[in-house]
């Protein structure tokens, strides 16, 4: 399912980055940083809520807008019941939608907001994402102080919050199209191997997007997938070739491999809805503003994992959505 947009633009973005991310290769590019997993709060959850509010406030400040000026906000995070988003927006005066597609939520929220702006129903929207290594770890895996050995293929949830403001006012960067992916389950049950879980859905979405927009891989300056990780990236390249006969070139990368310094024992790289968002907003958007990248395809990949069904030995489904950004 592909949607084309005529009148949706990126006004500005905001990034708040947490531990490990702030030591990575993008360390100088964030709007705000926090040094430890509590950041002065007494629980990890409160810390994550605080950082999400921070990201929204930075975005409002950068765009010179008040909360009342925003038509809607769409937000996502990893917690059950979207706890972090719900609590953050309870402190703000903005109409709110919560969405969950795990790490694919970033593109999901942008494509929903873009559709509403393009239809003329609303003038602007903010899309926010949040993730926190410790809150994710305790919900999906073990208590945070428990030192279970992890395999190299595991990923390390990114701590950070991001925001993007979309508007119908013309700016340099346009959201030109989006592809809504399908939920695909290839029978992977390994809760550590998110790259293997998400690769088929990422490749499906890429193929659909190229087919429906009549473009080739080489038409894009950069194709950036969500968070497949160091090994998932190789699986993706192979899978595209074998399944869809798509040759992936040098213009492809995965955001999971761009966020951390690998010396920090982060296994296969980053994950979480903020992983692709932090890389895109802190690095890709500025490069688009300076015109060194002109056409970028973002494919946010989400592993729709639930500890309950994983314990029941069911395999993990995944979904990926794509957004195309172009400099005009």
């Amino acid at each position: 399912m592909n949607i084309k947009f005529d009148n949706v633009f990126v006004e500005d973005v905001s990034t708040v980055a947490g531990p490990f991310v702030i030591k990575g290769p993008l360390k100088d590019k964030f709007d705000k940083k926090y040094e430890d997993f509590y950041d002065g709060e007494n629980t990890f959850e409160k810390c994550e809520i605080k950082e999400l509010i921070e990201a929204i406030k930075v975005l409002l400040k950068k765009t010179n807008k008040n909360e009342e000026d925003i038509d809607i906000a769409i937000s996502s995070d990893l917690m059950n019941q979207l706890t972090i988003s719900n609590f953050a927006y309870s402190k703000l005066n903005i109409p709110f939608l919560g969405v969950y597609n795990a790490c694919a939520s970033m593109c999901e929220s942008i494509l929903i907001a873009s559709s509403m702006i393009d239809s003329g129903k609303i003038k602007n929207a903010i899309c926010t994402t949040s993730s926190h290594n410790m809150t994710a770890e305790r919900q999906y895996r073990n208590p945070v102080e428990y030192g279970a050995p992890k395999p190299k293929r595991a990923t390390f949830t990114v701590s950070g919050a991001t925001g993007i403001m979309l508007t119908n006012n013309k700016s340099d960067i346009k959201v030109t199209s989006a592809t809504i992916g399908k939920v695909i389950d290839m029978g992977v049950t390994d809760i550590f191997d998110m790259g293997a879980v998400m690769t088929p859905s990422a490749a499906y979405t890429l193929n659909e997007h190229l087919k429906n927009t009549n473009t080739k891989v080489s038409d894009y300056d950069l194709i950036l997938t969500g968070d497949l990780g160091m090994y998932g990236k190789k699986m993706f390249i192979d899978y595209c070739k074998e399944e869809y006969n798509i040759q992936i070139g040098d213009n492809y990368d995965d955001s999971a491999t761009r966020i951390y310094d690998y010396k920090d024992n982060v296994y296969a790289g980053g994950s979480g809805p903020s992983c692709l968002a932090l890389v895109t907003y802190s690095d890709i958007i500025p490069k688009m503003k300076s015109k060194s990248l002109k056409k970028v395809l973002l494919i946010a990949t989400g592993a729709l994992m639930s500890p309950t069904t994983s314990n029941q030995k069911l395999s993990i489904p995944s979904v990926s959505h794509a957004i195309c950004l172009e400099v005009i």
Partner: protein, 150 residues
């Protein structure tokens, strides 16, 4: 939806790119660390046995209490998880692993209250050890009673 790929074929593809875990290295580390915990235990038994009023049996119990205490303390201070992660079975098979699992669960649920938090969740990871420990003690006890007369 899917053209060439099936689950079996895909499994092969993922296997090709999955990094190999260094099993030999992990086993050697676990073996050495586990051995060192054993040595430490023996040293503690010898130390406690030197106290006049302590019997050998009591010294063994004191050794276990000491190891449990140290594991709990190191978990609470916050660095023991990194040790366990590196040493693997060398630290989580001995009594230190049980203590670590229990303490980390207690710390995790502290903020949710004494009853609904710590009380309900303290044995989240180590509950299996208690349950199946009790069941197997019961089963083997009965077998021993029937065949060897207790």
């Amino acid at each position: 939806m899917v053209k060439n790929m099936n689950k079996q074929k895909y499994q092969k593809l993922t296997k090709k790119h999955s990094p190999k875990e260094n099993k030999t290295k992990n086993m050697i580390i676990s073996f050495v660390v586990g051995g060192l915990v054993g040595v430490l235990g023996q040293l503690l038994i010898d130390l406690y046995s030197n106290i006049d009023s302590v019997s050998h049996e009591e010294a063994t119990s004191l050794m276990m209490v000491t190891l449990i205490f140290l594991s709990c303390l190191f978990t609470a201070i916050g660095f023991f998880d990194r040790w366990v992660e590196k040493a693997g079975a060398g630290l989580f098979v001995p009594i230190s692993g049980f203590a670590h699992a229990t303490t980390s669960s207690a710390l995790e649920y502290k903020k949710e209250g004494l009853v609904m938090g710590i009380g309900s969740n303290i044995f989240k990871l180590s509950g299996s050890v208690i349950l199946y420990g009790v069941i197997s003690a019961y089963v083997f006890g009965i077998i021993r009673f029937i065949f060897f007369g207790g």
